[in-house]
Symmetry: C2
Subunit: 352 residues, 2 copies
DNA sequence: CAAGCCGGTGTAATCGATTACAAATCGCTA
DNA sequence: TAGCGATTTGTAATCGATTACACCGGCTTG
């Protein structure tokens, strides 16, 4: 007799309370509990209070897997980042995270610096319901998207940010790279430079192309000669700046000013020249691109093109949200071009 | 008669194929399809081939929400990052992401620079099955954990990394901050400095305390005086370095060397002094802490304490995985202390 | 030749919440 | 007071995959 009590299943001491438990405690149906939690106005005050009390008492938390299954959504998005370690991207990421989490979405990150087979795998997120959308900061992922499209896989909400692609019709948020580059060159010309060089980003990158073209266009507009030996290939890294500095150093006829496709390039360039006794801006002027945090505090403080990183992340997130929610894209431009700004600091001066 | 054909539901042209569709096409049961995909060795080669073919034909992708619901797991973890924009953290994050994604887990990010009510909300991930575990890079989140523990919420796998807390029994991965600081000071003493100051991190932070104590301990061990007016409060930012530079500048009796609790502090300090005509290392030596990427290329290249960021992220991820999978923690130390390294560059020299 | 075992497969219960639909209740008017 | 609509609540189907259990045939073994 006495043992029988112990044989009863410990109904109250379940591991994790489920909606059934709350319903039982509150003396209502599971439907009512669910409604109380998702649209409280559909439930009378009296029962609402009872339910909320029962939720408190049981410590109930709705299981997201179950909810997502039924609602046919995941409540998460993926951000594809090339090189997470780069502060430029992580700040955009921060803005995206803020905007999305305020809207009730979680943010999954995926680093695209991965072997090829993993890159392809990343897109699975969109096909298996583990994400409702994707923000792509890596233009080179366009190929992967193309491949999956030709594989007949349905399109999901995708927004490109920073980088973009013309091969696909996805919306994008980006800055005006062309005029940014032009502004940088204009500034150097205004200072009196006429021997102006360029250190470019990685080959086959849309940003590299846009900035290089802006650079050339402004030179041409001012009637200055474009000399290919002053136009260095690189990537966006510090190392590329160092490489370019060596090449620059070896030139017989050196440009007196350099426009770098990124701040990091500029840092590497200045740092390497500095160790060889060349001074910036005394011996050569340098303009960067991006305006990352340290730019302001580098020695010398770097003249650069400011990108509104926060705005860019936020706009990308908003656009993605609008696409996910199916808001009419009438007022949503497909290409959002954000303005840039020239920040003049101490790394540029008139030529000697 | 003819219309009747059109009234048939277009069974083949479903929106998204489900396991039922694959089963029908392959002529087997859903159980067999599931088994083929999750443990192929339990299925005969003949049927396996049929199923895989059907998967190809239909373009089937297992729905994660459904799988997670049944498997009672989410396949994702959360990383709590204070200030995502900080490159120091984003590099650790990159290492975590690599390790976790290789293990088949997704990584959710959450920025803890949020209003209080959102901080509390972050822990919900662990309570509603939207994450299987959590890596915490923000020691100050310990309070939220405490609060949720006293609220009787079951503990989930959690690992602290970089920062930690002694109030809770969670495992942690961290560097040896105390000896890092001591090494920095030792280096300065070896160069001949005896007036050594410190710029600290934010108050109430474990790293601040550990590094400050390492700093003081080494001074004391060498019989040098500890002067409180040479010990500046701050945080880990560039701004803090600038502030400290102003205070340093105003001193009558200035230290000839400064140990900074972060590289960013050092940058701000050097940058501000530079604009006031004070040279590093000629007039004052500076040691940083962290060895972030730009440290090597700053002007002057920064002498600093190197943190193995990649190892730290990877170890934290591994430890979390072990906890999630329930691997015996016998060989798993609760506190993993990673070694640091002094990197001597050009920002330190013998005093004049 | 019967019993037992094993690899391979199908049936159906299950994970936990949401929600369409039905039913009950209440108030108010004709 | 009957009847109608509005409000509130409950019942049960549903989301889609996983997996416990049962079953079946074939092979080994005593």
């Amino acid at each position: 007799m006495v043992e029988k009590i112990n044989l009863e299943p410990p109904a109250v001491i379940r591991n994790r309370p489920k909606i059934q438990d709350v319903a039982r405690v509150a003396g209502v149906s599971t439907a009512t509990v669910s409604r109380t939690l998702s649209k409280p106005e559909a439930v009378s005050k009296a029962t609402r209070d009872m339910v909320l009390e029962a939720v408190q008492a049981t410590g109930y938390r709705a299981d997201h897997a179950a909810r997502n299954l039924r609602r046919r959504r995941s409540g998460a998005i993926v951000v594809l980042v090339p090189n997470l370690g780069n502060p430029f991207f992580s700040q955009i990421l921060a803005a995206i995270e803020n905007t999305m989490s305020a809207a009730g979405y979680s943010v999954l990150i995926a680093d695209t610096m991965q072997p090829q087979f993993r890159k392809q795998q990343i897109l699975e997120h969109l096909h298996n319901n583990s994400a409702d959308g994707m923000i792509v900061l890596d233009g080179s992922m366009a190929e992967e998207f193309l491949r999956s499209e030709t594989a007949g896989i349905a399109a999901s909400p995708v927004v490109f940010a920073c980088e973009w692609t013309d091969k696909l019709r996805y919306p994008s948020v980006r800055i005006d790279n062309h005029s940014g580059a032009a502004m940088a060159v204009r500034h150097l010309i205004d200072l009196g430079h006429c021997k102006i060089g360029h250190i470019a980003g990685p080959a086959h990158n849309v940003l590299t192309t846009a900035r290089r073209e802006g650079f050339k266009a402004e030179l041409k507009a001012s009637g200055l000669k474009i000399r290919s030996e002053w136009d260095f290939d690189g990537d966006f890294s510090i190392e590329a700046g160092i490489q370019a500095a060596q090449s620059w150093f070896d030139l017989d006829n050196r440009p007196t000013a350099m426009f770098c496709a990124s701040d990091e390039i500029a840092f590497g360039f200045i740092s390497e020249l500095n160790s060889r006794g060349i001074r910036v801006p005394d011996d050569v002027s340098v303009v960067g691109f991006d305006d990352i945090d340290i730019a302001r505090h580098f020695i010398p403080p770097l003249t650069t093109i400011h990108q509104p990183r926060n705005d860019m992340g936020e706009m990308a997130a908003r656009k993605l949200l609008a696409n996910i929610l199916g808001v009419a894209s009438a007022d949503q431009q497909d290409k959002l071009l954000l303005p840039v700004e020239l920040i003049v600091r101490k790394s540029t001066a008139a030529p000697k």
